[in-house]
């Protein structure tokens, strides 16, 4: 693949006066700029903008895109991120002019279709969650977490229980859980995992109490394991007067199989950009709607979409107990459109099948790799599983080295060193969208790497070899970051 080592910046390309596009001749009277804009806001010197032909601009961005890895390019088993394929039909829907070109300030009667879409998406998410109402406003999973915790706080305060200041978080939790709780002003109480990889119920019993505001839990958890004591856990928290928050980051494992509401959760966020197949990673933007039990409905953020007596859809901004707005306008609307498209094209049976296949794919890979990599929790997994590179570490090869070597095979690295309760962790999530042939190819690569560890460990310590840029010095990048553009050194 001919990819140049150095791609110049747009600013370094082009030539003065070169243009990609010429505006049509002005057909209205023109006014001098100083008559329209206050003098103190007018630049003294013209902005230094790149001046390029269309072809130069296209080649620049196409060149950059060829350096990217995405699920459209190759396998992407990044655990906990659900990098499933995003069907192109969702993009077609999101570019329909009636959805893409509307303005958030348009009168409601002119955007009934958009409002209906939001109304129905809310209903679908509630059905999947087993809960009563939802807000589509949060712009990401962690934003959903913060919003959900604010609802829990508002609920306790309204009930005269504002002193409850502790959120319980398992040691296997996503890092965003304790971070969101701290952001919301809560103290974090950590509970350890038991030997089966679930929450230690015994320890939970000791920490729940009159100060418990709630518990945040991912189920399946970050080990990819379904917590067998989930009903006991949520009941313990409820009995102490706390509420249960379900981190839906791993919802791809359970669609149509079990519901957060039935498991005893009161709030759940969904990452539309994971579970419901909207673009994410660098592409985004994300979307993290939350669904809630009836007791939390009065506190939901504004606006909500309601249906009036004449079956018209309206935005309700005036809700007396609401925590207020959490996002400009109505959330990332075009992401909602893509998720809606995905859910409608898949249907209830399709979504259930997606989860079944995601779980099957993960178990298939796990079973075929557990003789060459350590599997610390050896039981049936859900949509992902965690291997440990402890056997390889004895030969001087770490999880990071294995991750780097995978890049040579055009495979995105798994999540590494997380969850932190597993040493040298490699967290693998294949998703349902890969064929068996692709899964077999990955298994073969992973087995080859395990063999390489025994034959030539030093080779792995220097990987990757076939990428545009080789092994980066991540330590120096963090210790002495170069955060702004510097002129390239003159070539000899």
């Amino acid at each position: 693949m001919a990819v140049n080592q150095q791609i110049p910046l747009l600013m370094e390309l082009g030539s003065p006066g070169r243009r990609a596009y010429y505006l049509p001749k002005l057909d209205i009277p023109s006014k001098p700029v100083d008559e329209i804009i206050p003098k103190n806001l007018i630049r003294e010197e013209p902005a230094s903008l790149p001046e390029l032909s269309e072809l130069e601009a296209v080649r620049h961005y196409t060149g950059l895109s060829r350096r990217n890895h995405g699920v459209d390019v190759g396998f992407y088993p990044l655990g906990s991120c659900t990098m499933k394929y995003n069907p192109k039909i969702n993009e077609d829907l999101a570019s329909l002019p009636g959805l893409a070109e509307i303005h958030p300030y348009q009168p409601e009667e002119t955007v009934q279709g958009a409002l209906q879409l939001m109304y129905e998406l809310e209903q679908d998410l509630c059905e999947i969650a087993g809960l009563d109402r939802a807000t589509l406003s949060p712009a990401a999973g962690a934003h959903g977490e913060l919003t959900g915790l604010m609802l829990i706080k508002a609920y306790h305060e309204a009930g005269g229980e504002g002193h409850r200041d502790e959120i319980i978080v398992p040691d296997a939790a996503h890092g965003t859980n304790p971070a969101s709780a701290a952001m919301c002003g809560y103290k974090i109480v950590e509970v350890p995992s038991d030997e089966r990889g679930g929450v230690s119920v015994e320890h939970l019993r000791q920490v729940v109490g009159p100060n418990t505001a709630g518990l945040m839990l991912t189920n399946p958890n970050t080990l990819g394991l379904f917590d067998e004591n989930i009903l006991t856990i949520t009941e313990l928290v409820h009995d102490a007067g706390g509420l249960n928050y379900y981190d839906g980051a791993n919802a791809n494992a359970i669609l149509g199989k079990c519901r957060a509401g039935d498991m005893g959760f009161d709030v759940v966020h969904f990452n539309l950009h994971k579970t419901f197949s909207t673009p994410h990673g660098g592409g985004g933007p994300g979307s993290g709607p939350i669904a809630v039990r009836d007791i939390l409905v009065p506190f939901l953020p504004t606006p909500t979409v309601e249906k009036d007596s004449e079956d018209c859809f309206v935005l309700q901004h005036n809700r007396s107990k609401s925590i207020g707005k959490v996002k400009g306008f109505y959330g990332n609307f075009l992401v909602l459109v893509r998720a809606y498209g995905y859910m409608r094209t898949m249907g209830p049976k399709g979504l259930k099948r997606a989860s079944e296949d995601a779980v099957l794919s993960a178990n298939y890979i796990m079973e075929r790799l557990k003789d060459v990599y350590n599997l610390p929790y050896d039981r049936v997994c859900m949509h992902e599983f965690v291997l440990s590179a402890v056997m390889q570490k004895k030969h001087g090869v770490t999880a990071q080295d294995i991750a780097k070597r995978l890049l040579d095979y055009n495979i995105h690295a798994p999540t590494v060193y997380f969850p932190m309760i597993v040493e040298e962790a490699l967290m693998i999530e294949p998703t349902e969208t890969e064929t068996k042939a692709e899964l077999d190819a990955f298994i073969e690569v992973m087995r080859n790497i395990a063999a390489e560890v025994l034959e030539s460990p030093e080779k792995l310590q220097q990987a990757p070899y076939h990428t545009v840029i080789g092994r980066l010095d991540e330590t120096q990048a963090a210790r002495r970051p170069i955060v702004r553009w510097q002129a390239a050194e003159t070539e000899e």
Partner: protein, 126 residues
């Protein structure tokens, strides 16, 4: 693995030693090895008070972010400012140049409750 015999140790891998009137604190070789290359250290503010077991500082490595807990109760009297520019000192010399902070102890007996070198060695082998 180096475990100096004149230091006291916590289960959370901090070391402590009496130095003149104060107690000097850092992290053990086991801890720095587990964390990997350290890229950032957040030190406590001089004059702030901590109870034994409270989080006092944060170490960020290429792998993870870890809390450093107070081995004893007391007030911070000095911090190792060099770590702001050279966090790698902890990797290079965790018992010397890489020390983190000094505490004026409010309860001298607490130091005696920490592990000695032999106990800590057994703890890290477990």
């Amino acid at each position: 693995m180096k475990i100096p015999s004149d230091l006291r140790y916590c289960e959370t891998h901090e070391w402590a030693k009496t130095e003149a009137e104060h107690v000097m604190v850092g992290v053990t070789e086991f801890a720095q090895d587990e964390m990997g290359d350290i890229v950032f250290v957040e030190l406590p503010v001089v004059g702030s008070e901590y109870k034994k077991g409270e989080s006092m500082a944060v170490i960020e490595s290429v792998k993870a972010v870890s809390d450093i807990y107070a081995p004893i109760s007391g007030t911070v009297v000095e911090v190792n400012e060099s770590l702001n520019d050279q966090p790698e000192l902890i990797n290079e010399d965790c018992y010397g140049e890489g020390w983190m902070f000094k505490i004026a102890s409010s309860n001298a007996e607490e130091l005696e409750t920490l592990m000695n070198a032999a106990e800590y060695e057994a703890h890290t082998d477990a």
